[in-house]
Amino acid sequence: MAELKKAKKPPEAAGALPTVKKDEKIIEMVGVSKVFDDETVAVDNIDLYVRKGEFITFLGPSGCGKTTTLRMIAGFDIPTSGKILLGGRDITDLPPNKRPINTVFQRYALFPHYNIYDNIAFGLKLKKIPVTYVNDKGEQYTKMQKLTRREIDEKVKNALAVVDLEGFEKRSVSTLSGGQQQRVAIARAIVNEPEILLLDEPLGALDLKMRKEMQIELKEMHRKLGITFIYVTHDQEEALTMSDTVVVMKDGQIQQIGTPTSIYNEPANAFVADFIGDSNLFNGTMVGDRTVRFCNRNFKCLDDFEINEKVDVVVRPEDIRMKEAEDGMLKGEVVSVVFKGVHYEITVMVGKTEVVVQSTECRTVGETIGLDILPDGIHIMKKEFTVNKYDGYITKRNTAAFGDGEFACDVTQLYPGSHLDEEGYLITAEGEQIDLTDTDVTVEVGLQNIEITDNAEEGGAQGHIVSIIYKGDHYQVIVRTEENEEDFVLDTEYLWNENDYVGVKIAPEHIRLALKQETKQK
């Protein structure tokens, strides 16, 4: 046998996966949805890309689809529809063991029957890398080969050094603390030199102090290793501290993608503003060029919207300045003062509206103070719902069926000047008799015109409260029906509980009906 000369290629060249340069798209999700058991929509048609070398965080409340999204990138869940591309190559159906991606699990998922060394070496022992040989004729050929014992030793040692656990090789998993197990889990993933590291709430099980330390260490690791980190958390502070890019998710949909600063300063909608940091949300109306009216006063602002448009206004508590009672743009009474360490959180009632202020200065409860809000402290967002719109039809009883329910309404508004006869037929102004049964209509109901009641049967439709957002002087509540998941968005002064089963009541005079275009033409 001729002597073989060994020349190892770096492992990055392995496999047929294309190499991606820094800042180019490494992962791309195109119209990805995931539906479990034919009914639960976990992820709803999301589009998203991740740049190489970036630290991106999926942030959202539990059940928002962030973990499912991560699991689809890892390959544990296969999307119901849509595509996932890695460096431009479709990997949607590629099993997890074939992807250059490693995961750090929330509960570590270490192998309890192996010691620390074997846990970390698990991936290395399975790995095959191409080794180029030159035979005696001078021809080169490549063979896929396992790593040698020495190479594995070396890599495991390096990985343990990265996570600060030198000398832990022989320890068993059960003798380690939670934080140490987490470090082993990270070492086990990064030792394989993946292109992407997925982290599923990796710090969720640690105590606060430990978590803060690990946040800094993870960020440092990301800087040193230079690989892409995709991180999942429900902790907004963690997301803002660590990420280059934050993806805010809710109900399986992406609400906003942006840098931590832009997400904090320019939230895309009321949900993002409410979820990220503390905020005051007001209902406002644009009353002039870059002028918005809320709390019964006009404010200059920086955002440009159409005049008379209804908008959501976000004011961060730290952007409100306290003044003497007569000097402020707003005047109100202090109703509570809470010491928060660095600052005081002061709640002020301005008329019927609650305004939260954060300041290093203290005020006393009962005091009347003035408040100033500068233009750059005001962020204006397009209002998500200004009216509820539904497709419905008229029933035999001349009621309107929409939103999974049936409501009494005034059908005569469909034809100006019409009235109903004794048999329930509509007589138009011209004297024409019309049977409205099964007529398709569009229905509009204002947010203020919907009432909800605990006695579910009393309402025209029934559903569960799925969202409550406080808007300064009222709550915006979304009631979702069970059958077709129709939403009723309404404003109410009363505080309800999420998941309450309620009935939806709408007074007949508040139901605005319009004939659908095609029906009108008949």
């Binding site: 997890p96 063991n97 995961t103 699990f105 029957h113 698990f122 399975l126």
Partner: protein, 263 residues
């Protein structure tokens, strides 16, 4: 005080009630009489007879080989079954699990008769094949039953972690799932061995005519009451009892030691 004496007395009574017959057997294994109950002086005669009897030694070997083979096959089948049930969709897995446990509650005689019927249909009645299948039918549900909880206790992410690190499904199964459920698999195997060792009914219905296990041999030998044709069986029974006691003691003591060590 009276209470204490009474409770001790009750415990003693229960223990005597349970162990008296066996102790009697052990005691009478040390005398040569052919009929139980007659004492003809202390002697190791029966034990000598036992070890000299080629027939009994052959049957003993039969029984052990059968038990080990049936248990090994049942363990493989039962473990594969449990893993299959565990990883299948709930709609499929739940009924499968229920069905796999029916043989446990089914009367053994019914199982035995139906096995005999089945094998006579396919012309394999009273062969080694029918015997081993019969014992597997007996043991496999218990293996499923002892492996299943271990699978449930396992962190589901651990299997995914193995896939994530580059192991294919088969490799992940052997490197992660099987090692983590090994205690369940082992207890399933041990359970199968004991079940197969002392089984009479299924063996009697499926065994080849010239083949005997200890159970069938003892049964035939003592058919006509205490007047046994082979008194050496008393010695054999006593020995089996002692071996069992020893096995239980070893298992319990080692479990206790392990518990203390982990503390």
């Amino acid at each position: 005080m009276v209470k204490k004496i009474l409770s001790v007395a009750l415990c003693a009574a229960v223990l005597i009630f349970i162990y008296a017959p066996i102790l009697l057997l052990v005691v009478y294994s040390f005398t040569d009489a052919t009929v139980i109950g007659r004492w003809e002086g202390f002697s190791f005669g029966l034990y000598a007879q036992l070890f000299r009897s080629e027939e009994i030694m052959r049957i003993l070997l039969n029984t052990v080989v059968l038990a080990l083979a049936a248990a090994a096959l049942s363990t493989v089948l039962g473990t594969a079954g449990a893993i299959g049930i565990f990883y299948s969709k709930k709609k499929v897995g739940a009924p499968l699990k229920g069905i796999s446990q029916i043989p446990i509650i089914n009367a053994e005689i019914v199982t035995a008769i139906s096995l005999a019927l089945l094998f006579s249909f396919v012309a394999l009645y009273r062969t080694y094949f029918s015997l081993i299948i019969g014992h597997m039918v007996l043991c496999t549900p218990f293996v499923v039953l002892s492996v299943m909880p271990k699978l449930k206790q396992m962190d589901p992410n651990v299997y995914e972690a193995a896939l994530d690190l580059g192991a294919g499904p088969t490799k992940a199964l052997f490197k992660v799932v099987i090692p983590q459920t090994f205690s369940g698999i082992l207890s399933g195997f041990m359970l199968s061995v004991t079940l197969s060792l002392d089984d009479y009914i299924v063996t009697a219905f499926t065994k080849p005519r010239t083949f005997d296990t200890i159970s069938t041999y003892v049964y035939n030998a003592v058919k006509n009451g205490t007047n046994s044709s082979t008194p050496a069986l008393r010695a054999l029974s006593a020995l089996i009892f002692v071996v069992m006691i020893a096995a239980v003691l070893v298992v319990n003591l080692s479990a206790r030691k392990k518990k203390e060590a982990s503390r």
